[in-house]
């Protein structure tokens, strides 16, 4: 068993070597991820155009209404069949990958799923998005970034914490490129992926995020996701309203996340084969889109309309919020490959606009217009879903370059997060991971320690005897202080302190052995062991297999304490690592 990083001193190069290698790696990762992200987005865009998902091409076949109906119904279904087949046939993981997989790999210092699974998942998400499924693009981009960031780890670069930092670099570059927001990319990598600040990680992720920004802006001149005009918050009391909006948004966020989780559980309980499930969700999207075309794909047009007063009627907004929540939960749960980030943006902005419309309809209070409320709603819902309040605040700042709007969004975001954190959890990703047995809610150290089992520290060399043996026979065979009395099946009956045997060599073991007051099994984790060791007297603790009930080995108390201290020290070193 090792710490998050084996003791680095003997294998690492000089500080200058580390800085140079880390910077070059960050630049390379940033450049490659950024280009890949642009290719991803462009491919989706092209598919949307060709397959008549985007309104701009749909309107050009205005003369052929049957074609639009056929495309609306068939395209998401065909996309679903392709995605289902792709994942079921070619993915070793048999599921699409996303941010939770990255978080797991980074937090637990584990190897992420293989490149093949990653490529299949990425292709599946291109198809999902391209064929109009109601899923988001940022989750797949985050995974793509982490996957590419993990590639240099195959070279033995002799840098502590390299895999985690390199994956964070990839994620930072992906977000930086996709949102045109380098600071948000950098913060996202820390807030969601790394979950600590160290200069060693901060410097390269900054380089990667800046590289992504340069590629997106200088080389390709990408349009930002949205631009809004906002003249400032007119009335001080509106900040109270933003806080209330944040609280209301938390309800929407919780409903969205609960439904997404439940939809996945429901999908698993249906008799429909996994390969066919996405097609079912696709059919639902197509049928809904016949009446509500805004639900298809990422919904860039609806995102923009939500900030324009009067673009939607009140009931239209309410209907769209409900439809988008239901369809996204269905699409994600039924196996389309894609994220929840962009749908959360859309749901949130529509909800914010809805709240403003209702408020405005009362005529009771003067407000500074729909924009602030729409943006606050958008960020309040999104930040709670992805568990990244700082990132979302910065996204507002970088996309709108509007200070007033950022402060307004900040208020809404914090109140939404407060509620969701208490009622639901830190984010959808964390809850998904918790359901897979990885609980990050008590902190990254606890989560990491919880994956460390004491059985890994055990030794199978211990002295055993039978309860029927005589003391002198045992003494003749051992020089240890403790001997374990096992029955014929190998089950532990008691523990003998050999120092007490010399007094009466003819006595039977059964009469002097002490009942085992403490044992570990193969599932005991380091923190459990530390807790159980309180008040323990002795040198070694037996390990007993839960199924066979046989004793399989022993672990020394000092080894447990040593491993615990090493693990804590490894995390401490990672979090305080200099550049």
């Amino acid at each position: 068993m090792t710490g998050p990083e084996p003791d680095p001193t003997p294998t690492t190069g000089s500080a200058a070597y580390r800085i140079v290698v880390m910077t070059v790696s960050a630049l390379t990762i940033g450049l490659c991820v950024s280009l890949a992200a642009i290719a991803f987005v462009d491919l989706v865009f092209w598919l949307n155009n060709v397959l008549l998902v985007s309104p701009r091409t749909r309107v050009q076949v205005d003369g052929m209404p049957w074609l639009i109906i056929a495309a609306t119904l068939l395209v998401p279904v065909i996309g679903g069949l392709l995605v289902g087949t792709l994942i079921a046939r070619f993915s070793p993981e048999k599921r699409p990958l996303g941010p939770p997989d990255v978080i797991r790999a980074v937090q637990l210092a584990q190897t992420p799923p293989g490149v093949r699974a990653g490529l299949v998942s990425t292709l599946a998400s291109v198809i999902s998005l391209g064929f109009g499924a109601s899923v988001g693009q940022y989750g797949p981009l985050v995974y793509l970034g982490a996957m590419m960031g993990n590639l240099p780890s195959r070279l033995n670069l002799r840098i502590p914490n390299f895999p985690a930092i390199a994956m964070a670099c990839g994620v930072a570059a992906a977000i930086s490129t996709a949102f045109n927001a380098p600071i948000a990319g950098l913060v996202f990598a820390h807030e969601v992926i790394l979950r600590h600040y160290s200069m060693q990680a901060f410097a390269p992720t900054t380089v990667a995020a800046a590289t992504g920004y340069v590629v997106a802006n200088v080389m390709f001149e990408r349009e930002p996701l949205f631009l809004v005009q906002f003249d400032g918050v007119a009335y001080g009391y509106e900040f109270m309203l933003f806080a209330v909006l944040g609280l209301l948004a938390s309800i929407v966020a919780i409903a969205f996340m609960r439904l997404t989780l439940r939809s996945a559980a429901f999908a698993a309980s249906t008799p429909i084969r996994p390969a066919l499930r996405p097609a079912v969700a696709g059919l639902a999207v197509g049928l809904t889109a016949l009446w509500l075309p805004d639900v298809m794909g990422v919904g860039r047009e609806a995102l923009r309309f939500a900030t324009i007063e009067g673009a939607f009627l009140t009931w239209e907004l309410a209907l769209l919020v409900v439809a988008k929540i239901a369809l996204t939960a269905l699409c994600v749960g039924f196996g389309f490959a894609g994220g929840v980030f962009s749908p959360a943006l859309l749901i949130g902005i529509l909800f914010g606009a809805l709240c403003w419309m209702l408020l405005d309809a009362t005529g009771a209070i003067a407000t500074s217009g729909i924009v602030a409320y729409a943006i606050c709603g958008m960020m309040a819902v999104t930040s709670a879903v992805i568990g990244a309040p700082l990132t979302t605040i910065l996204i507002v700042f970088e996309l709108t370059r509007n200070y007033d709007l950022t402060i307004a969004a900040m208020v809404a975001v914090v109140f939404s997060n407060l509620v969701v954190y208490r009622v639901f959890g830190r984010s959808l990703f964390d809850v998904q991971l918790a359901r897979r047995g990885i609980d990050l809610s008590a902190g990254r150290d606890r989560a990491w320690l919880s994956t460390q089992r004491v059985s890994g520290l055990s030794s199978t060399t211990f002295d055993r005897c039978s309860p029927r043996d005589r003391a002198y026979a045992v003494l003749a065979r051992t020089h240890r202080n403790e001997v374990f009395a096992l029955d014929t099946e190998g089950r532990l009956e008691g523990i003998v302190d050999t120092r007490s045997l010399a007094d009466d060599p003819s006595t039977r073991i059964a009469s002097v052995m002490a009942p085992p007051n403490l044992h570990f099994d193969e599932t005991t984790t380091l923190p459990d062991a530390m807790r159980m060791l309180e008040g323990f007297v002795g040198d070694t603790i037996p390990i007993i297999d839960t199924t066979s009930e046989r004793m399989t080995g022993v672990v020394k108390e000092t080894a447990v304490i040593r491993a615990y201290l090493d693990a804590i020290d490894g995390l401490r070193r990672e979090e305080n690592a200099p550049a």
């Binding site: 309104p55 050009q60 631009l227 075309p293 047009e301 923009r304 309309f305």
Partner: protein
């Protein structure tokens, strides 16, 4: 000058009989634009080849090709690109092989997308709005939102009776960023929003049809703001001295093309004409007379001062760098394919009057 223009236009209204072998008939838009073309292209063409250029005037559209072309013996026509695309789809134009107009090496000099099956891009123009300086003595309109602001800038607006451009402007005035105008206008919601904005101007609109009219409406005080082509407003201000100011905000940059009506009997001479007219020096010469930007990069560097007023012409072009950030580059294919829909909705809106 204006009287002269009107006379020219009146004369052009009579169809010129199909001339001798050494004539070609070029159809253009009349007025100062056609006068500039004569000076920069038609006369030099005659001098170089001995082929006389007869001109006819029309006001754009695809229907003119159906109704007038054959009878009047049209050989070359100056068209707006999206109309040329529709005319090409309808089989009203002769296909033009790009190689016949420019060799491979020269084609790279043209802006991307200049060669389409039936047309060759010749210049870029902008649909802008301009205002009468005398109408607003204090605050001046500076943005497309001001065009729709009847409170701060009261008065009649002269607009082309057509769904092109005005719907785009309506969305921009609602705060839609230029890069998303076509995306949003492609949705039913976007169209409704645009017409809702247009509705706020109802009762304050004077419709125009002839391209020379908007400048005239500003000049004689009938309207305080008008949509129109930047070259026409430029001429009215620089050459005729009217107090007209162009607002470079949300201007829609479109492409003007040369095309050959199907059924011409002088296809060879027509192609020879287009070859001549799209040479960089001819494009530059035209741009020195009227601020329509060349479609060849090498032509841009040749453009000097306006021949009469001495104004540096590169600053006045729709594709000059300082106008870039607030320009909407027209998606001609989108225009061509959505024409029927927008026209239908526009007519329905007009019915509401």
């Amino acid at each position: 000058m204006r009287l002269h223009n009107l006379l020219t236009m009146a004369l052009m209204a009579f169809p010129v009989p199909a001339g001798a072998e050494n004539d070609i008939t070029v159809v253009s838009w009349g007025g100062v634009y056609e006068a500039a073309q004569r000076q920069a292209i038609f006369d030099p063409f005659t001098a170089a080849t001995g082929i006389t250029v007869e001109t006819e005037t029309y006001s754009g559209g695809v229907d003119a090709l159906r109704t007038r072309s054959a009878e009047a013996g049209w050989d070359v026509i100056d068209m707006i690109e999206d109309q040329a695309i529709r005319a090409c789809d309808a089989g009203l134009l002769t296909e033009i092989d790009a190689g016949e107009i420019a060799p491979d090496s020269a084609r790279k000099d043209f802006l991307p997308g200049s060669f389409r099956p039936c047309s060759v891009a010749q210049n870029v123009y902008a649909t802008v709005f301009a205002y009468d300086d005398r109408a607003f003595l204090g605050e001046k309109p500076v943005s497309i939102a001001d065009f729709f602001d009847l409170e701060r800038f009261p008065g009649k607006r002269a607009l082309l009776r057509d769904p092109d451009v005005i719907l785009e402007w309506a969305l921009m005035a609602e705060g839609v960023p230029i890069g998303q105008v076509y995306d949003l206008l492609s949705t039913d919601r976007g169209l409704r929003l645009a017409f809702r904005k247009l509705e706020t101007l109802r009762g304050s609109i004077l419709w125009w049809k002839e391209v020379g009219t908007p400048a005239a409406m500003l000049a004689d005080g009938r309207a305080v703001m008008a949509s129109g082509y930047n070259g026409r407003f430029f001429s009215a201000a620089q050459e005729e001295g009217f107090p007209i100011t162009i607002v470079w905000d949300g201007h829609v940059v479109s492409t003007d093309v040369w095309a050959i009506p199907s059924g011409t009997e002088r296809e060879k001479a027509a192609k020879r004409f287009i070859r001549f007219a799209t040479a960089p020096e001819r494009m530059a010469a035209l741009a020195e007379l009227i601020p329509y930007g060349p479609t060849r990069r090498s032509a841009l560097s040749r453009i000097g001062l306006h021949r009469e007023s001495g104004v540096p012409m590169r600053d006045r072009l729709p594709n000059s760098p300082q106008h870039e950030s607030r320009a909407l580059y027209g998606d001609t294919v989108w225009y061509a394919r959505t024409r029927a829909l927008r026209k239908r909705r526009f007519e329905a809106w007009l019915q509401g009057e």
